[in-house]
Amino acid sequence: MSIVLITAPAHSMARVLAQKLADKTGWPQYSRDRLAEEAHAQGIKLSRLEASIIKAPIVSEKLAWEKEIYLSFVTDVLYKKIQDQNLIYTGRAAHLLFPGVKNILRVGVSVPMEIRADIVAKQLNLNPGKALDYLKSLDVDIMKWVHYVHRADLRDTSNYDLQLNLENLSLANAADVLMQLAELPEFHLSDESVSHLEDLHLAARATLHLALNKETSNLNLGVRASGKVVTVTYLPRQKEVAESVSRVLGTLEECKGNVCTMAETNILYLSEHFDPKTEDFNQINQLAKRWGAAIELIRLIPPKDGKPFFQEVAGPEPRPEHGAYTGGVEDDGPEVSADDGGLDNTIEELVAMGRSAGGVTIAGGQHEVIDALRDNDNYSLVVLGDLFLSKGPQASTRLTRELGLAIHERMKTPVIKIDELKSQFLFGMKQAFKLLMFCLIALCIYGLVFSFQVPILNFLGGSLHEHWKWAASVAVVLFVPFVAYIYGTISGLILKLVNID
């Protein structure tokens, strides 16, 4: 009654090991090769995902949804392969499947490079040097794949229950070790684990159901399930599709109900140009990471030929309809403007970090931005970057300020300029220096108060007080807010330092 997930490098002996384990236990055995075949046959765009790793850039918003569909397909297929709660699966990142489910035996296998190179040289008819080059490149590709698909590092040992080195251990003995380990009570699925698996499977089925439906196939959605209820999170710009999602999920078998919610925490960043390599982007990203927020980008540019327009960055490609068979050679889509002010690149970077809430280009001014934001009220923060640059520095500052006020008025959300972000939300050298200075001032105040207690008490209630009653009151009125300001600043900076806002 065990699930054994074996991660092994390509061209190792993992499948033989899995087969030996299957022979000893009688448990069903499945491998990634067979799973990939099935994915291709079912129309999952696995080819595009795999090839995207070889070709930079490896990520795009179009592929992000394809990735979710692929992972859902894997979960669905493997769940169905489990017999009497038993399964042996080998793959390039098998140990990362069924994330969070306890009592699953997650195993890593390592095989010396020389042994693998020998296998490859024979299998692919390569000379030893080429075989080694091939394996080194492939290992790097697989690391990239795992990072992109599972957002994990293959070398992170904390994700494994056991790592087997097959350099000296025979495959038969390795299979024995795995069998004995899998029979331990720790690796028998508990009711809680089974329930967790069922939730993952329902979420996977819901994702596939949405992906295969024409109405919802080109949406980038977050899907999870708990207790036979599916929750779908959509981006603010997809607000109008909530009804379709709900309707499509209404036809999903064994689903008691569904809830559609808009992604809750978002940071909206408006600018004329974006560059994922800048310090500005880094700061917004730091804040988003701390808040667990997604970042939505609006590129605001002057109207073209005096005409405002609104253009959303392309989302996932709609799946082709039946009857339009092209043999995989598709017509070119509409041409995308070559100069997008770095919007595409920045979104790709955000997708890679799992923080993209999409992006749009708006050609226009304040009214067009407010129109675009009309129904969205779930931003935690709006950040204004470089805007209205063609108007000159003074007009740019004024128009940016007016836009900020209009957005704040409309959405009741904090609006700040990009150059204020660090001082208000992040902790850097300047803040460290400020903290040090204020701590020193606080220490001086305490030092002075405790060193001169007698004259101070005399001033507040003793003989001096008798002569200068009003002076004591004035001193207290001035001194207390001053100390409170020092304390407040120190506390605020310490909270920033420990990432609590």
Binding site: H40, I53, D141, V329, E330
Partner: protein, 127 residues
Amino acid sequence: MSLEILILDDETIVGERLQASLEKDGHSLEAFTSPREAIKSLNEKVFDIVVTDIRMDDIDGIKILELVREKSPRTKVIMITGYATLEVARESLTKGAFDFIAKPFKIKEIRGAIEKAAHALQMEDGG
């Protein structure tokens, strides 16, 4: 630059669609659905570019790649497949493929690969 291009894919529609698009760019194309027929043509004539599917019943695209590399190292081979995996892509590139494109692809992707191959051929031919 007009190029001699051979296209090999066991699905007729792939050759037809690529031929229709790439001939407009001034290239000369020969499309095959049978690997054996394609090999015959490769033995008779030197092509600038070979675009081949990988998974075919009779002879696979990797064999075609090996054959082209052996007969005409100058020829650029672009691999296309609907069954791409990292392993197959790396094997193709290690064995000398110029580019690797996964299906489904847009025509502009293959056009871009052909332009890059043409540029590489020009550089090798001395500008």
